[in-house]
């Protein structure tokens, strides 16, 4: 009897991990840009499930896990930003920076973009990432996040305007 209960619970978590682990990991990797942070996010999201700190909405487990992945990944971005700010203020002399190559430029661009996305409201950030990282349509995003298509379209428009403002200087460099 105990065994049956144990395996049922363990199987449930395992099947959720198998079904949605990739979604969470891909999202975290896309936002944080590196494997270590993506693994930490995946672990944190599933730890919440294991502990049932936040009981997932049974009807929309995918939406819950996706939101948790975005929020946890953006928290990581914010933490890294703080750490970098502290490091810079602690350095007496800036090291001589070599001219950035393409991969360094891409990394810098990615970091700036997600630091800007981290300044959006959580639901706006979730929508932007679903659209541009996962290539979802307004209807698909609406279904996943439990809202209407109109609301998604409006939020996407506002989020883009805000991102353009936040990234204005960097975007102009490219023009």
């Amino acid at each position: 009897m105990f065994t049956a209960v144990q395996s049922e619970r363990e199987q449930a978590i395992e099947s959720i991990f198998k079904e949605y682990g990739q979604l969470v990991y891909r999202t975290a990797y896309g936002v944080t840009g590196n494997r270590e942070d993506a693994e930490d996010v995946l672990q944190a999201v599933f730890m919440q499930l294991v502990r049932q700190e936040r009981r997932p909405d049974g009807k929309n487990l995918q939406g819950y896990l996706y939101r948790a992945a975005v929020n946890s990944s953006l928290n990581t971005i914010r933490r890294r930003q703080r750490e970098r700010a502290q490091q810079v203020s602690g350095e007496l002399e800036a090291p001589e920076a070599p001219a950035p190559d393409d991969s360094v430029k891409a990394e810098l661009r990615h970091r700036r973009l997600y630091e800007a996305i981290a300044q959006l409201k959580p639901d706006a950030a979730q929508i932007v990432i679903l659209r541009y990282m996962h290539n979802k349509s307004d209807a698909e995003i609406a279904a996943m996040l439990g809202t209407s298509r109109g609301a998604i379209a409006l939020k996407l428009f506002r989020s883009r305007t805000r991102l353009r403002k936040l990234l204005l200087a960097s975007l102009k460099e490219e023009l």
Binding site: M1, R9, G21, A38, E39, M47, Q48, H110, R160
Partner: protein, 538 residues
Amino acid sequence: MRASNKNLNQALDRWLSQSPSPSLADMQSSLGHVWERLQPHIVGIRGIREEVIPASTDIRLRWPWSKIVLVAALTAAVVLVAPMVLIRTLRPGPAPAIVQTVGSGLSRTDGEKSQAIHAGDQLAFGQIIRSSVGDAAVVALSDGSSIEMRPNSELALESADDGVRIRLSRGSVIVVAAKQKKGHLYVQTKDLTVSVVGTVFLVNAEEAGSRVAVFQGEVTVQGGAGSRKLSPGEQVATNPLMKSHPVSEQISWSGSAAAHLALLPQSTSPAFPRLEFDVATIRPVPSANVFIRTADRLRCKGADGILTTSVIRFNQMISSVVSDVPQGRCVGRNVDPISLIALAYDIPINQRISGVPISAELYNIETEATDLSTVTKEQLRQMLQTLLADRFAIKVHRETNQGDGYLLMVGKNGPKYGPAFMETSGEEEIFGPTHDASGQSVVKGKFRLKTFAESLGLLDNLSGPVLDRTNLSGIYDLTLILKDAAASGPRGAPTSPDRRFDPPVSKAIEEQLGLRLERAKVPVEYLVVDHFEKASEN
């Protein structure tokens, strides 16, 4: 203004469409790793729920009446047994482990939150314990056993049916297992389980596989198809491609390395007696001279030949004057510590030694063995390790990962023997890779194919090490000429792997030498320097 907004929108679209995405293999590996890390927590939760869940099971409401009697009987059994289980589980007992000694970098995590651990802190089952890159730590179990963690290791303690299980997901531990009154102490990695009743042993978990070495007593190792017992001095690895290294080197990071090695039978301990130079002079090169960056190769001459760094860092000019080395000595001017480490630990320099400050000083080195006429290359190599430990306070460990690399193989029409590829004899002598002003890079010298492959790995447009799979033995005069793409094509030619030269490296090798390069997943061995100081004065 509208046009400007349009341009900005287009730029934003470009930014948004370029999120990095993991490769499928990396993602699978990460998912597996995280699932492994979650295991102790899932088991932990399950343990607590054993007492709770049966009482709240509502499934039984849908059961047919005919089963009610059975349910009642089982429920009664639960009511009787559960308190006993609860009492046993909740009875205050000793914590499974206490941190004994620790540097500044041990942490534990219960999943989301990570917190620092200090000496004297108690550890609970299921917590993930991580040692930082520079700090080892010792954890004492309540049964009297101790676990010494290498820097950059990760483990969790779990309750096993008949003892305690140490789940090692990364790094190395040396376990001094107390005599178990009943049951076993287990160490588990992703591909093996070690069970003991009282002994001293090392377990190492790497991406490519795991290793076990025994110093005292006997352990049973289970993995893959079967199990085997190991005695003192014996070691096994789960992946046959992993290189074997002396146990003395594998535990050089340990504060008790000498004590553990002393447990080994003399015949199985290559580290005894300690091999060291009779005379060793190490002088830092005055910093005013460092900018010259002309590195002389450190060379040692043993009775069985010359020992020298197979390759030198690409950004350094190499002195073309090869000075003679007297028998039984090691000599080098302006030696970069990385070259010294590479020679001592027999590892290629190319991005595979980490932890040495780039700005480390250069040194003039002259050493002399006691027995000048009979000392061998291998003995000189071990003496260099002793020198690094004594004078640079070095502590190292090796890690083997599966990574992208290349295999150097014989082309379909066989080697193109001729002026560029000629069998010869004598010692290896390597010149290059070197660049010249005409946009030409040359890899030239007297090589074993293994060394030639290592030299190719130095070319920064190959994205990984090159392993020799030519099956050609002997020493060859080899010359490979590579022309920069920029010299023959438009400026700003792409710098992605294998495209900077025209023709690319793989084609040049095939055309000039009749060998071919094939992309492959290869075991890549890294030497991680856990601790390194400036050389102490003579």
